[in-house]
Symmetry: C2
Subunit: 339 residues, 2 copies
């Protein structure tokens, strides 16, 4: 056996993979935000030279993936696997970005939790011994998401204060056996939590209970708390959702302090950039993780980080049919040493 169970839901890896390379790409608006210097590439227009926003999303993800492969010194077809997914119907953003890669491909759907879901799956596949180098990718695009999930952009519809701005961005990480730290040491796979929120303009509220469930389980399984991490990071709860998470975890006896932040709450400047409750989308947590988070781990500022991307598993059809919004959150603990 390579991995073992800690408590109810957490898995401790014996041959924890390291991060061989990463790349973070973003759109123009994200490139004007507070994390600008952590992006490896900033697109200058929403089309990325393509004829549609969907093709633009694939082009941005492809660029991010190729940049990451280049840094790893690996040809794409030398990878043992690519795991990827996105928000577009049938995860077409990923399939078209990666169809020429020549690498074995496992498609995921975790909505905006895809980056941590992918890190969890890739880490376990490497730890198990069957794979050596696995890339984890995901993306989102404001324009392709807006017209698929909400209204045609041309409507210029008003936004609710709790609504979030889908990030145009992509993240790619290559995990490898034998790569340098940070290592992915611990994994807590989340369960679906649906507390009955039906407002598709308040995704933070829909996802916060799933984030609270996964973080509480991770802490219970490991005996850790916020104080044991240099940073505890959720995906895209936004300002509203991360306030709800603080409250929920507070009721459970945990005390989210300044070590806690949400990628959606930090990728934009809410006051200056008009994004209401903050950023969202697979590309939000992915680009923040692959740039800002890994950057701070490599510099030594942070030694131990818990990354817990969050996803809302509804579709426009289920919302139209009156269904509430199920949330999910997967957590991975990265450390500059092995456990």
């Amino acid at each position: 056996m390579c991995a073992k169970r800690l408590g109810e839901a957490t898995i401790s890896l014996d041959n924890a993979p390291g991060v061989l390379a990463s790349a973070s790409c973003a759109g123009k608006k994200e490139g004007e935000g507070p994390l600008a210097r952590y992006f490896d590439y900033i697109a200058t227009d929403a089309r990325c030279g393509e004829k549609s926003w969907e093709k633009a999303e694939s082009a941005l993800l492809r660029r991010c993936f190729e940049l990451c492969c280049g840094r790893a010194g690996l040809a794409p077809e030398a990878l043992d696997c690519v795991v990827s997914g996105d928000l577009l119907n049938q995860c077409a953003g990923s399939a078209y970005a990666l169809r020429e890669s020549g690498a074995p491909y496992l498609g995921l759907y975790g909505a905006c939790s895809t980056m941590s879901e992918g890190l969890a799956v890739a880490s376990m596949l490497i730890d198990g011994g069957g794979m050596g180098n696995v890339a984890v990718c995901t993306s989102s695009h404001f324009c392709s998401a807006e017209r698929q999930f909400r209204y045609p952009l041309e409507y210029g519809s008003l936004r609710a204060p709790t609504s979030q701005w889908t990030v145009t961005g992509a993240g790619a990480v290559i995990l490898s056996r034998g790569a340098p730290p940070p290592y992915v040491n611990l994994i807590t796979v989340g369960r679906i939590v649906d507390m009955g929120v039906t407002d598709a303009s308040d995704m933070g509220a829909a996802m916060a209970p799933a984030a609270a469930d996964t973080l509480a389980r991770h802490f219970a399984d490991t005996g850790r708390d916020f104080a044991d991490y240099d940073a505890v990071i959720t995906g895209d709860l936004g300002v509203t959702g991360s306030d709800i998470l603080r409250e929920l975890l507070g009721m459970d006896g945990y005390a989210p302090d300044a070590r806690y932040f949400d990628c959606g709450a930090v990728i934009f400047d809410p006051k200056r950039q008009g994004v209401c409750s903050g950023g969202s989308g697979c590309g939000c947590s992915a680009s923040v993780f692959a740039g800002y988070v890994l950057g701070n781990m490599r510099s030594g500022r942070w030694k131990r980080v818990l990354f817990a991307a969050t996803g809302a598993l509804m579709s426009p059809t289920t919302s139209a049919q009156g269904e509430s919004i199920p949330g999910i959150c997967h957590a991975v603990a990265l450390e500059n040493g092995r456990d």
Copy 2:
């Protein structure tokens, strides 16, 4: 290490999990087809008592999952993980079917290859030691797929001779460490193959090259051929697509004989049931695998089977934008003994 590599792309599991339980559910039309006696439950109407076809698909998958858990003697929340996905936008069929399960959940998107993708992922997670019992689920529904991918049913649009009939069906399998055979011994994760087919009414042709690629890689990695298996099974190439696969593999020097069949070509009676080239959808290969295939393995008729579900990774949006259709195929070898 638990798993090891065979050749370029095949993984041999050391602690290969067995099949603890399975369940296969189908719609009325499928229940009138040649495999009727292998389904554990046959729905009597397309709505399954729900108000919409999407909710009906979730209800059918939920019933299948619960039936499988019951046979395994496991409460859903006792599972270490459920891996599931489907064709509905944002994989909503799975999320809503499983949101009350209380089990950790990993969403997949492999289009109609989901059952073999799920078996591959679940087997590797169990083999790695971190998980003991993992359920693999997927579903499709004729009516929800038809209106999402093609035309509103009320149009009564004409069907092309190469078109396939999306199966209303679901499959669930629980893999476990220490469970009895068949064991999942070998895994070949497929890569995306796109040969430029743009006709969304000819998905078999779009997916056949991916199936040929994965089967040829599996055979090359393992030194096996069709003659080494009692059955080699593709997912949903249909009559047209499986003929193309025979031709492609023939050019590669392999000889698909009577041991080869396609789930889409056997689930319906094409002459009597008016399904053109046969069945398709995640539920096609899943219900055939969980019922007919595992049934024949349990009875001892087949000792060694290669199951290779196939998927088309396009979306209606990419087709409308003139893109060709990328295909994928993942193969898992099941045997009544360990390798």
